[in-house]
Amino acid sequence: MGEHLIKMPDVGEGIAEAELVEWHVKVGDLVREDALLAAVMTDKATVEIPSPVNGEVLWLGAEIGDVVAIGSPLIRLQVAGGEGASSGSDKTEKAAEAPARSGEIEAQGDGAVRTSEAIIEQQAREAPPPRPVEAKQSPAVRMHRPPVAHTDNAKPIASPAIRLRAREAGVDLRQIPGTGPAGRITHEDLDAFLTHGPQVARAPGLIQDTSVQHIKVIGLRRKIAEKMATAKSRIPHITYVEEVDVTALEDLRTALNAKKRTDRPKLTILPFLMRAMVKAIAEQPNLNATYDDEAGIVHQHGGVHIGIATQTGSGLMVPVVRHAEARDLWDCAMELNRLAEAAKAGLATREELGGSTITITSLGAMGGIVTTPVINHPEVAIIGVNKIVVRPVWDGSTFIPRKMMNLSSSFDHRIIDGWDAAIFVQRIKTLLEAPAMIFVEA
């Protein structure tokens, strides 16, 4: 019998560490060669680690959510016969570097990793929802003493120090069930009250649920969290909301959809918006940019690569319609549909999920009246689409029903002045309200 050590493989991209997002095995499990042991995630890719040998799992080197350095011991297997061996980073480097197409899983030999680029969503598809860590027992539970409610109007039992703290925090101690001896209110009881607020008065048949689930923020959720935190903390947002009369646009869209060729996709409002944005950007190219604030450089792009914020089963993703300036309406619509489906199915490639220069966010029918979109860092602008509603509009002599839609857009105020932002949105509004202009060459 020997031991086989598996190290965190180098999954490429020049990265130094990867996040363990899933264990497929536990200590004591028997694994066959090629059986999946674990999934790790880098910036863009989830990588499955298969077992190079048959064996029994002796030891796991990390917990889910841990960020593990490349080359660190990850798993120890007990293998039958022979000398123990080690596999990991050195052997797999090549495998990871091999180009891979969307959705493909390349199986390598002994000690290889299966890697699929840009399969964040694959992880999401395959991984179970993050496991709730067992709730830590509250002091009350630990003491195995039911809190004593102060039923009589006796003064609550608490030391002067606790009474003073409560007084200063504006807390009436009679609300707090004491867990100490004789129902004494402890500092912990007060802390708990200050943290969690008053316990709901107990009605017959209803039971307080004091459980707390501790859910590790891992995988895609962690990436989203980091990205949002970066965007919100680094970018001073300015949000501008304008309403757009889309009655004419909706008429056009309905007519086009009614007479479209069968091989063409059904048009939503987004392809029109994309084309309008292309036109507006032609006049204000500084909106189509990424800002490297560390280097102090704004990269103003010629190509209009429009990110489409898309809700998938595992969270928010932003597939990118590349070179919208070179696509007509139908092409935009086709590409949009393809990407959205790919993203939702978890088949979008890393390239398709990055490289945008401006982003659209739309919640469709859930669009609400106003949103405050978060800029897709390091871009400088995001256009938010709110829902279309029929509203009475005064035309000068009477109220007429019009299909109205708000655009809620945010801009990086370091780069884009409010004036420029307004001009940009007004330009898009003009185009959308008279949609023929979208298709007329200036």
Partner: protein
């Protein structure tokens, strides 16, 4: 005289008033305190402190008298001592004087302005003070009334001549041969005992069935016993009717309804204290009252905004330490802190012989409140330290809830037990259970062990009895 404006004006520099002013000064409030007499109030000038000085001197004297009698077990031989009461009083006055200047310097350090004279409200925000140099008008955002209390006078026995209050009793320069004490409360008994020890023939006239009627009989029994041993005659169910026409005699109606006359060189009337609600312009204000007292809420606020009242003028228990705690609290409230009266225990101490301490509820009081109790009672006769002090009289009693053992009250009677009040008060204030007291190591050999043993006994696991 130029008017003064301030954030806080305190009327009366007794324990409540001066503590309030010091705390306010510490908190940066622009504070003025007005006192007609010397700082320190009743407590420091004519109450707690001088009486304790006199009691101590009397004890010292009595001890030597006892030693000189040859009946002491220590094998000490001593000659009959002599007492120069005027010198005792001078010593006491010196202590009081030191404390007066101590309070003054504390006020000064806290940057409190002191104005001497009698204060009188002009309205709720304005007070006039008759000072030696003229009328001083003070405008204040907040006023704290801390005018204290004064001895109650009996209508048929007005103070004057041989009829004295505790104030005069603490300034006597010779020991009266025959002293009649009207009122067997703690003030009368403390002073009566002291004078008896100093050689006076003391008679206590108490209208109720027993002395110290606010305490239970078990607690007062060692005191009654000691009074008897000191040759103090206690007349209960007896009413002082007035001075006999002949003079030097007090007419007393006894329990049977007959009238006797008691020869007396001094008649000390200690039938209680009344709040001082007159002479400072209370009639200019609209203050709700609670019996003879000013009504206050849990923040010591009166019925008028910006006017607070603390101490004896606000009601029972009329104790200096209650007033001090109120004063401190009010200063913090005026400084904007969130405070309210939430004290669990105000210890009461009688410096009788032996001393009595009571904190919280007795077993009887708890029963009346419908609470099941378990109590533990530990006698000093089983306490080594008490034995070595010749102080075996008395006990410590711990009263707790039967259901959860929360300590409800602690009482003790015995030599020097006043110092145990700190431990008793802390136990109640912290919400101790009897297990907490039983589980605390109490130093040996001390009288404090009786506290722990009392707790153990309440738990049914006493060790030393």
């Amino acid at each position: 005289m130029k008017d003064i404006s301030c954030k806080l004006l305190v009327i009366g520099a007794g324990p409540g008033g001066y503590v309030c002013a010091i705390r306010a000064g510490q908190l940066g409030l622009d504070t003025v305190i007005v006192e007609e007499r010397k700082p320190g109030g009743t407590c420091l000038n004519v109450g707690c402190i001088p009486s304790k000085a006199l009691i101590h001197a009397a004890e010292e004297y009595d001890r030597i008298v006892h030693l000189a009698s040859g009946k002491n077990p220590f094998g000490i031989k001593a000659k009959k001592p002599e007492l120069d009461l005027s010198q005792t009083i001078a010593w006491k006055d010196n202590i009081v004087g030191r404390l007066n200047s101590g309070v003054s310097s504390l006020l000064k350090r806290a940057k409190v302005k002191m104005v001497q004279g009698r204060a009188r409200f002009r309205d709720g925000k304005t007070v006039e003070v008759e000072t030696e140099t003229g009328r001083q008008v003070i405008h204040a955002d907040n006023v704290v009334i801390a005018t204290g209390s004064a001895p109650v006078e009996l209508p048929n026995l007005p103070f004057g001549g041989s009829v004295i209050s505790s104030t005069e009793a603490l300034a006597l320069t010779s020991v009266p041969e025959r002293l009649v004490v009207v009122g067997g409360g703690y003030i009368g008994l403390e002073l009566g005992t002291a004078f008896a020890k100093m050689g006076a023939k003391v008679t206590v006239v108490e209208a109720q069935a027993r002395i110290l009627p606010q305490y239970d009989a078990e607690l007062t029994r060692p005191v009654a016993k000691r009074l008897q041993a000191l040759g103090i005659e206690v007349m209960t169910h007896a009413k002082a009717k007035g001075l006999a026409k002949a003079g030097g005699m007090l007419l007393v109606e006894t329990e049977s309804g007959s009238e006797v006359s008691l020869a007396a060189d001094k008649i000390l009337v200690t039938v209680g204290r009344r709040p001082v609600t007159q002479g400072w312009g209370m009639e200019e204000l609209v203050l709700d009252t609670d019996g003879p007292f000013i009504r206050i809420d849990e923040r010591c606020q009166t019925s008028m905004r910006g006017i607070y009242a603390i101490g004896d003028v606000t009601g029972e228990p009329m104790l200096a330490h209650r007033a001090m705690a109120q004063g401190e609290m009010v200063a913090e409230i005026i400084a904007g802190h969130k405070r309210a009266w939430d004290k669990r225990a105000i210890p009461a101490v009688c410096f009788t012989d032996p001393e009595i301490v009571a904190v919280g509820l007795t077993a009887d009081e708890a029963h009346k409140a419908g609470i099941e109790v378990r109590a533990g009672h530990f006698p000093f006769s089983a306490n080594g330290r008490a034995m070595t002090k010749l102080g075996e009289e008395g006990f410590v009693r711990v009263v707790a809830r039967a259901d959860n053992h929360l300590v409800l009250g602690i009482q003790a009677v015995g030599q020097g037990v006043s110092e145990l009040s700190a431990a008793f008060g802390l136990a109640l204030e912290m919400g101790a259970r009897i297990e907490d007291i039983a589980g605390t190591i109490h130093a040996h050999p001390t009288q404090g062990e009786a506290f722990q043993e009392g707790a153990l006994k309440a738990l049914g696991r006493e060790l030393h009895i």
